[in-house]
Amino acid sequence: MVLRASTIIITVFLISPFLFLFVDIDWPFIISIIKKHWQSDFHWTSLKLMALVSILSLFWAIIPAWLIASKDFFGRSILSVLHLMPLCIPAYILAYVYDGVLGAYGTLMSYTGVYFDIKNIWGLTFVLSLALYPYVFLLTKISFSRQSYDLINAARSLRQNRIQRFAKVIIPLSLPAIIGGLFLLNMEVLNNFGAVSFYGLKTYTTEIIRLWNPMDLSPVKYLGISLLLLLMLFLILDYIYFRNKEVYESSGANVGYDRNKLSGYKNWLAFFVCLLPVLFALVLPVCQLLIWGVPLFIEQLDSGFLELIINTLAVALLACFVCVLLSLFLSSIKHMLKEPWIDKFSRLWGLGYTVPGVLLGVGILLIASDLSKLLGIGLSLSVFTLAAAYTLRFNAVSYNALDSAFKKFPLNIREASYNLGKNKHHTWLKVDLPLIRPSLIAALILVFVEIIKELPLTMLFHHFNFETLAIRAYILMETDGAIYEASVPSLIIIFISFIPIWYLNSKSQ
């Protein structure tokens, strides 16, 4: 009973910012704004940007993911880690760095006198795809490496050549993973403000900021609602397409490739194909940041900077523990009770991650405004406010990691424990928890890395004198274009998230 009640309370907590988008809406007004903005080009720009970034990210991700999953070649294992590392670099930092390299009065211009104006949709596509393709890479690689080798052999015995096998078997089998990766990627594209506004484009998020009128947030509410409707459309399409094909996970023997060793020119070709995205997304920008940042390191590394690092780490750790504990509770409840209504509720638990962070922030502000009007108790900023906001947003990340681990439990393992006379609590402690442990660590790390980079919620809800590295980097770039100074906090962000991702990858191999 207590468990069920708390599940309901947590669910309400998780979706409350969205409920408040729909509270006291002036529908005729909303409709008039819809009419007014319908022709506005930000809808179109958002969709176009999402499509372009998706295409380019597939280009960066698919071939390397397949090579790394199915072949053995020079540098394979190190490259497989390096492809995850761009996750450590926030997109806005990459955007500023590339403008600093290629743009007016940038590095390239100082050597050659040539510059490229990359502040347009193509430049932004390039930058965002580099920052975000690891989402596609990661899920696709996992899916490729779990593919049944028998299926590929079956296709060979049915006279299908290499290209036919790729197009008719390998890609379609991994389609759910690819789409899952693209979904995450597009959420991030929609969420991005720093890079998009710096490159002069209009998307839902920049429009939310532009229309943000503190006296009247209804235009923002409208945008939130239309965005939620768009998301719903995507989810429905996804559901319709995959509804009949739930058994994608191959069962039986011969899962995974033998990874035969490539030799000669093929070896080097595979190496270079896999190196290319890493070069653009990681090596080049980090080198540039180092060139800018190293001379400033001593100058900036004072006690204030140490505080900055401690703040960042402390709030990230606190929030990721809260987040993972909550997800552990929710996923355990779902998989132990196995009640259909909880299953339905569980679809709402990830909502916070599917909308831009700014919109979530608006929702929280709306709740607090109404509460302060009703009860006289408003929002109070502290590290806990921030942790709560992070939990609302990133619960999806940790929940999904734990949920998929629960789904892979050996069949009837809990029943075996019950049968041996252990009650539910004991079973949870002695069976569920040990089995879920690696995923708990993975969930912690994933949430941690997300929080380190997070910007819109941190900006809104951090309290006095509590800056994080991400804020410092962003403000330095934003207010003065002081990209040199910003390179120091940027490098530390990259470095801090580098370590756990490296650890996670080495654990999973």
Binding site: W212, G376, V383
Partner: protein, 343 residues
Amino acid sequence: MIKYFLSICVLLAYLFLGCKGSAEQEKAEVNVYTHRYYDIDKDLFKAFEEETGVKVNVKHDKTDKLLSLLKAEGNQTQADLLITVDAGRLQYAREMDLLQSFKSTKIDSNLPQNFRDKDGFWMALTRRHRVIAYHKGRLDTALVKNYSDLGRQELNSRLLIRSSNNIYNQSLVASLIANQGAENAYEIIKGWVANFARTPKGNDRDQVKSVALGEGDCAVINTYYIGKLAFSKNEEERKAISDIGIIFPNQETTGTHTNISGAAIVKHAPNYNNAVLLLEYLSSLKAQEAYAHKNYEFPVNPDASLPEFLSQWPKFKIDSLDLNSLGYYNKAAVELMEKESWF
């Protein structure tokens, strides 16, 4: 496993409760919500701390978000001072009932009447003027005397200006509406948009750089960006600025558009006295000269001296419009720009 988990959580929780508790006991502080994040602000706050022993706590964000936050916080807020980069938004804050009026003879003597709210709800910190930067070799200055001249056909696709999202542009248009009426303002905007060299992007600094690189001949920017570029750490940027000249528009009519970076005291401010203390400090001669010398903004204290860089510019007539009207006409301005689909 679970034991580690819980103990770490409890530890962290205590750690932060401890921090927060000790922070609340200390009352010798003033909490600032600010849209300004220049090095000069940090330096001034530090100097203030040393002089008075009152600690300055800062949170930075865009004004609009800070206002929403203040509204959500209600009487729970810890903020004492709100600092914006625009007069119109101060007017907004007052309309939202987020501010309280303050009285200080020091401030009254430091600042002239037009840089203080007549009801005592805000004061100016610095003034900024929206001027026209042009390429000395490519633009005939006889062509451009007023803001409206930027719409002349001779300047077709030669004009650079940042996005209409930007509050400086919104307030410029609001001042045009206030001074010349909505219809004239609309004609002016129409002319500008027709002359855009490209879709607006980047900040004022980028507009100047683009003029130097030949993407356009003139750009609408705030004065202090010229100073920042002239003293940039990047040698290329310093070189770029040498070809750039400045026009102060509307000298024979209303004067060059004037906006302010301003400060106000929050309605539920827990540390009212310290907030007034800080405002007095920021209006003092010392602070005002620091704004001018370090950040190339114009001081609002008439006694403050200008750095050589600013004093070499000719004396120019400034717009004496009531700054509150920038707030009154903001909505109309945004609508005008939207109507002309100024990006």
